[in-house]
Symmetry: C2
Subunit: 202 residues, 2 copies
DNA sequence: AACGATTCGGAGTGATCACTCCGAATCGGA
DNA sequence: TCCGATTCGGAGTGATCACTCCGAATCGTT
């Protein structure tokens, strides 16, 4: 899930130096902070400065800005997936599901690149199995299933619909952002829709 | 709503040349097409080429790329406002409101910069009165009010919440995009939430 | 301690972009 | 038709960005 201890998959690779590992972690942390604060258009040099490192070091570990962005996205989504997994043992499946949903949206309102990461994860839904955010989709799907079994969420929506709603809510929170009250009321509308009976009128 | 016939507000300005007016319109049209196709990161030169015009001409009419973007946004939002106004005379206020909402989202799924324009319009909600998208907010508010009077939309949501939902739905449609069925079902959830009773359980 | 391998740092490179400037082309009133 | 005013066109400018390259610094092993 984190950094490789040996370079090649052949097994006979050389051990990675300690400073290299440390710097890789620093760069990743700095990249998360910088992209959260200034958006994905922030320059690689900004990331390097924040990490206390030269640009060459950044590109050594992440050969492309796109690769760096993807690493940041994966880290965030995996962290969210871990949170979702922790909620699987909660008493109230409905509260667990809706609470997680709301938490993601709240985070998106303050962290700049989160909705982009979610969007990328959402895109992969249509494509196929693998790709960024697979863990999050699995964990969210489990939360959803449990909530549906408990009757807290209507049974005629699937994971793709939930992901679309989550991406939309997160992006709205990130770009409209400002008023937390408005955001909460808009989210309540979506939640009511998710609790509603499977469509009374065509 | 469109181009000024005279340059200054003093009233004694000189008339604008015909070719200047024609080129301004061409540039705006080209900008709309290019930004819809390639997003707001498309270069000014691309716009100029599409308009069959030099870059100098683009900058003559829109002194900044931001100004050009804003002009495109205003044009789109005003067009949407006109559509909304036309729906004010529809028989079924609920169908008019939901139909307009769905139409905006559908457009956002194919046109690239629309959700950005909507987001900018939504941002102004918190700020104050004037700004981009004022007309759209007025028209959408009227549609909403009529739908609420008819009992088609719950009475405890206001225009800010509706705008937030519209921005979120549009951005989700633009960025997740792909599957129209998923999009329709996710939108149906939001609509059910808007029809729901004003919150049965806290 | 000493040495070879690995990693670091950051000036340098080439590409791109928004924007400027001015001679050439065009317009429209006389 | 003629002429002054206005607009056009697009090469040029400066800034910024992703990415490269290589001498210097650091690591880990013997």
């Amino acid at each position: 899930m984190t950094a490789p201890r040996r370079a090649s998959a052949t097994g006979g690779g050389r051990p990675v130096r300690a400073d290299a590992l440390r710097n890789r972690a620093r760069v990743l942390e700095a990249a998360e902070a910088v992209f959260a604060e200034h958006g994905t258009t922030a320059s690689t040099e900004q990331v390097a400065r924040r990490a206390g490192v030269g640009v060459g070091t950044v590109f050594r570990h992440f050969p492309t800005k796109e690769a760096l962005l993807e690493a940041v996205f994966v880290a965030r989504l995996d962290r969210l997936a871990t949170e979702a997994d922790a909620l699987m043992s909660a008493e109230d499946p409905g509260a667990a599901f809706f609470g997680f949903f709301a938490r993601v949206v709240d985070h998106a309102a303050t962290k700049n690149a989160l909705s982009a990461a979610l969007a990328e994860a959402g895109v992969d839904v249509r494509a196929s199995t693998a790709g960024t955010g697979r863990e999050l989709r699995r964990a969210l799907g489990a939360l959803l299933g449990r909530a549906q079994e408990a009757g807290a969420v209507r049974s005629d929506v699937g994971l793709p619909e939930i992901l679309t709603l989550l991406v939309g809510a997160s992006q709205a929170a990130e770009h409209v952002g400002g008023d937390a009250g408005v955001r909460a009321r808009a989210l309540a509308v979506v939640f009511d829709g998710l609790r509603a009976a499977p469509d009374p009128s065509p």
